[in-house]
């Protein structure tokens, strides 16, 4: 993608993010303040990019899954499993390397499970991942024994609350993961192949794409991202909370992907745009906390903001907005679903 087309692709997300920030700073004018104290950057924007880490990570994997016309409802539960595995192995004294390895492996295995159900057993993605969504928390609790499994390891908790050059480590992790996945899919042909199976699985298989293996790989990627998110969540509170880690985060992740302008019907995707979507959601969440409304208003505010964003980004509205903003020639509306499509 050239710079211009990339910018055109993510422009709606950038505008939305800007708008949300402006909105928040109306209620909380000190929003932009960032100071450098105790070797770390402190400020609301820093909070946002730190707190947004789990959703951002989940959104990376979710983007790929959704690009294949799937959905992964299990990521929250997978976070819990991986966090619990990591905490367990630290607790057993196996050290941080083993903990990370175990968490990563657990995430990959969960992804493998989902992927096999979808690709080889032909179970519909929502149902296939619903199974792990339900059972996964049970597995996580099995590991923690139902308690919040706490541990004492400063190296491990560094992953959750440490900083690198003043930047929170979770932020560094999601940005690096985003870049890593971005390069992986765009510098190789993976991105094209994923988009292809998302649009037309049958035709792609006939064109020689190994769609089953690719599907499994995509779900494993999602599992791996969930593992990273789970590690961060666990390290952050120095304990594995099997019940609450990542609870309902799958919905936020899906929302992030959609706000990122990716179609739930599969096909074209942009990880960068999903990450922006995740930041939009986190800005809303943080903004609600800062604004100081009674907490019973939280959901309604979030719902209304999300609806407004979605309406403004909807394929039916975007062309009009583009006409308003760029009054030059008639621009292509990439998001427009083709009329003659399926």
């Amino acid at each position: 993608m050239t710079g211009a087309t990339l910018l055109r692709r993510i422009a709606p997300q950038l505008l939305t993010l800007a708008a949300v920030i402006v909105l928040v700073s109306i209620y909380y004018p000190a929003f932009y303040q960032i100071v450098y104290v105790n070797d770390r950057l402190v400020g609301i924007p820093i909070d946002v990019i730190k707190r947004g880490a789990p959703v951002a990570l989940l959104a990376i994997g979710m983007t790929l899954v959704i690009a294949t016309r799937g959905i992964d409802l299990s990521v929250g539960a997978v976070m819990a499993i991986c966090g619990a595995s990591a905490a367990w192995s630290i607790d057993q004294g196996y050290g941080i390397g083993a903990a990370l390895g175990l968490a990563g492996a657990a995430g990959l295995v969960c992804g493998l499970w989902n992927g096999v159900l979808v690709a080889f057993f032909g179970i519909q993605p929502i149902v296939a991942t619903l199974i792990l969504m339900v059972a996964g928390r049970g597995i996580a609790q099995l590991i923690t024994g139902g308690t919040i499994l706490t541990f004492d390891s400063d190296t491990f908790s560094f992953l959750g609350s440490g900083t690198l050059l003043g930047v929170p480590v979770p932020t560094v992790i999601w940005i690096l993961t985003g870049i890593g996945f971005g390069l992986l899919v765009r510098r190789t042909a993976l991105g094209l192949l994923v988009e292809s199976i998302g649009v037309n699985l049958r035709a792609s298989t006939l064109a020689g794409i190994n769609s089953r293996v690719l599907l499994v790989a995509v779900y494993m990627g999602s599992g791996f991202c969930a593992a990273l998110a789970g590690v961060i969540a666990t390290a952050d509170i120095r304990g594995a909370d099997a019940n609450n880690a990542g609870l309902w985060l799958e919905l936020d992740a899906i929302l992030a992907v959609v706000i990122g302008g990716n179609s739930l019907l599969g096909g074209r995707f942009s990880i960068l745009a999903s990450l922006l979507g995740a930041m939009i959601i986190q800005t809303i969440n943080t903004g609600i906390l800062l604004a100081g409304f009674p907490s019973e208003f939280n959901l309604v505010i979030k719902a209304v903001l999300v609806i407004v964003i979605l309406v403004l980004q909807s394929p039916r509205i975007v062309p009009y907005l583009e006409l308003l903003t760029t009054r030059r020639q008639r621009v292509k509306a990439p998001a427009t679903k083709m009329e003659a499509g399926k």
Partner: protein
Amino acid sequence: QTIGFSQIGSESGWRAAETTVTMNEAKERGIDLRFSDAQQRQENQIAALRSFIAQGVDAILVAPVVATGWDSVLEEAAEAEIPVVLLDRMVDSSPDLYLTAVGSDLVHEGRVAGEWLVSAVNGEECRVVELQGTTGSSPAIDRKKGFEEGIAGADNIEIVRSQTGDFTRTRGKEVMESFLQAENGGADICALYAHNDDMAVGAIQAIKEAGLKPGEDILVVSIDAVPDIFQALAAGEANATVELTPNMAGPAFDALEAFFADGTMPEKFIQTESKLYTQADDPAGEYEARKDLGY
């Protein structure tokens, strides 16, 4: 004897401990305990109670997820002559419909916490931030109400920010971080009141990461008395916690035994103690005593 136990879920360490303690108590007494986890949903609990009745158990323990909505199923149990004992939370139904209720008074817990804070600040100006439990849950509502009652007389104490932390560590930490941001890096906060210890533990980390000393710069008071908060108390990072004992089943089984033996009707409400623990109450020892209870 077969006794059915309908538990709310396993959403917190405290509840896991309650489950463990109940199972242990049952085992000690040779009771065949049928356990059912309702995954936080009342409809599952009602269905479980109905199944217990259909199965013909001798008695039912239930930790109701919410106070309302129990009338008809309790009536069914009464018709089937199965005594029901409520654990740790109350219901709105007529007391005739259950044998007894074992629990603590949630409002009272909040009040104890509030009163502690009043005495701790000793008349100085104090801006308090509050971490609420899950919006709409009865502990969140009652503990908020109790705390407000506890500080009602003290004009020097004011709740400046109150948000839900969903009873979890993660959210406790996250919300505390934004409180700290919003209150001048935490300099304007004098105390934290958390509806449970888990949120307090998360918040303590947030306070530490912001470069402040929890327990000194910001007073921390919370409820439940789970093991981890005693560690914090021992380290001087928390100041007080109000105990909610997980052993509700012991008194319940006692009452049931007496009832089965000679029909003794227990009191309608068996209140457990809401003991206040501070740094002075041998937190290290308390931690050791609790750490294996399944919290």
